[in-house]
Amino acid sequence: MGGPRGQFPSTQLSLLEAASSGDTLPNEALERVSALYWKPVYRFIRVKFRKSNEDAKDLTQTFFAAALQRDLFARFDPAKASFRTYLRMAVERFAANQHAARNRQKRGGNLEFEPVEEWAATAESPEQAFEREWQRQLFALALGDLRAHCEGSGKQLQFEIFEAYDLSSGDRPSYAALAARHGVAETSVTNYLAWARRMLRELVTERLRGVTAGERDLRDEIRRLWT
């Protein structure tokens, strides 16, 4: 992300702004999109098309390498859907085409047994899996930004406390326990958490800005995310 370590990440350009020169996106924008969307696309392909791990990886790689370079973004109409939805539908088209092409080759040949993974058979729909993974990746990236920012500006303590509380997957420690563990006052714990959460929110917003079409898309995605 832009800016040297420790500096607050520079404001991202939206996709529309990045593509202002033409219909193709510059590399930087593409990198941002794939950083966020790789895992969600992979998961989507696995769940929807029941692909094996290897096949899904191949397809995802192909998608990002090929489809993204071409006129993918040119056909995007911000008024109709969010970029996230548009991308997902593009993946569907792409994978369906690939699937059809492969079946044409295989006709008359031996049928391939496709193992159905346990988690692919859950109640979650492919669309939900896509969105869930997308949220996960978004937060993962923003948390990485937060960690880098804290390390660069001497706020490691804040990050540690935030990690211990907000990122814990089991029982959360009490504020008092955290205060004792790190040798600070309990009010400091409250303040640090508030600061870290505020920071995280801003970083998430910045990451979102780099992968949404424009102001309206960004606002819609923000509203969807936080409710």
Partner: protein
């Protein structure tokens, strides 16, 4: 970093908490989500009291403008409006300590108490309607009963988005009659299974599909309920004869008993004399 779903959900909740630096408020916790935004409990540092902060997620004019000039015991007073550092609009209003209507009903209140709560809601509606304000989203989740028994009708002017369709009027254009429908739906919701048919009929009349045959306004509905409470005939229900007689008898019980005593005494004396 491998984040599981629970952590993601937690982060979504806490990172959404509004930044109140620069305001006089100190955030405490999220209370709930309304139609247009999220409501938090906060503390007003200057006046040292707790308030409710509604943070709007869109810049459109919220209910604050709508109801700030309405002063009524059942309408939550607005203290302040403003803009947060992150650009979102908010307003501060009275923090109601009490229970939502569905929770209040879980305590099995008497019929009289239920009708009292409904009357308060109806009075607020009548007041607002007289000043051209429509609520649009009457449902039990929007009614609070405070710790002193006071009743509040909340979340004004938000068109009923998702949520229980049972309380939404089937009207094309929302008007005061849609609110009458909502009031009837509320009444029906609040009536116990053993409620008298007159009250059910009142609710039904308010909830007719055709707005023209409902009660024309909230005061008429309340008047019908009052008639019921006084033992009079109700506009919404044409009662069978025996019910009418029963009602007459209960209203004039004392006199009827006295007359019966007189007749009884007379008959007794008559027969005793003939023994």
């Amino acid at each position: 970093m491998d984040l599981n779903d629970a952590v993601i959900d937690h982060l979504r909740q806490v990172a959404a908490l509004p930044d109140l630096t620069g305001t006089r408020y100190e955030l405490e916790s999220e209370i709930g989500r309304g139609g247009m935004g999220v409501v938090y409990a906060a503390r007003d540092r200057q006046l040292d009291r707790r308030v409710a902060l509604k943070v709007l997620d869109s810049a459109l004019a919220g209910e604050a403008q709508l109801i700030a000039h309405l002063e009524h015991p059942a309408i939550v007073p607005i203290y302040e409006t403003g803009v947060l550092p992150d650009g979102r609009a908010f307003y501060a209003m009275k923090l109601v300590a009490g229970a939502r209507l569905d929770q209040h009903l879980a305590g099995a209140p008497s019929l009289g108490e239920r009708l009292r709560v409904l009357r308060r809601v109806g009075e607020a509606l009548a007041f607002a309607h007289a000043r051209g304000v429509i609520h649009r989203d009457i449902k039990p989740q929007n009614v609070m009963v405070g710790e002193f028994g006071e009743v509040y009708l909340m979340d004004w002017g938000v068109e009923a988005v998702a949520g229980t369709p049972a309380f939404r009027a089937p009207d094309d254009r929302l008007s005061q009659l849609s609110d009458v429908y909502g009031l009837g739906a509320l009444l029906r919701f609040m009536l116990p299974a053993s409620a008298p048919p007159a009250l059910r009929a009142i609710a039904d009349k308010a909830m007719r599909a055709d707005p023209a045959v409902r009660y024309p306004d909230a005061p008429r509905l309340l008047a019908d309920i009052e008639r019921f409470q006084e033992g009079l005939a109700v506009e919404a229900w044409s009662e069978p004869l025996w019910h009418r007689l029963r009602r007459f008898a209960s209203r004039n019980a004392v006199l009827l008993w006295l007359l019966a005593a007189y007749a009884g005494v007379k008959f007794l004396l008559f027969f005793l004399r003939n023994l």
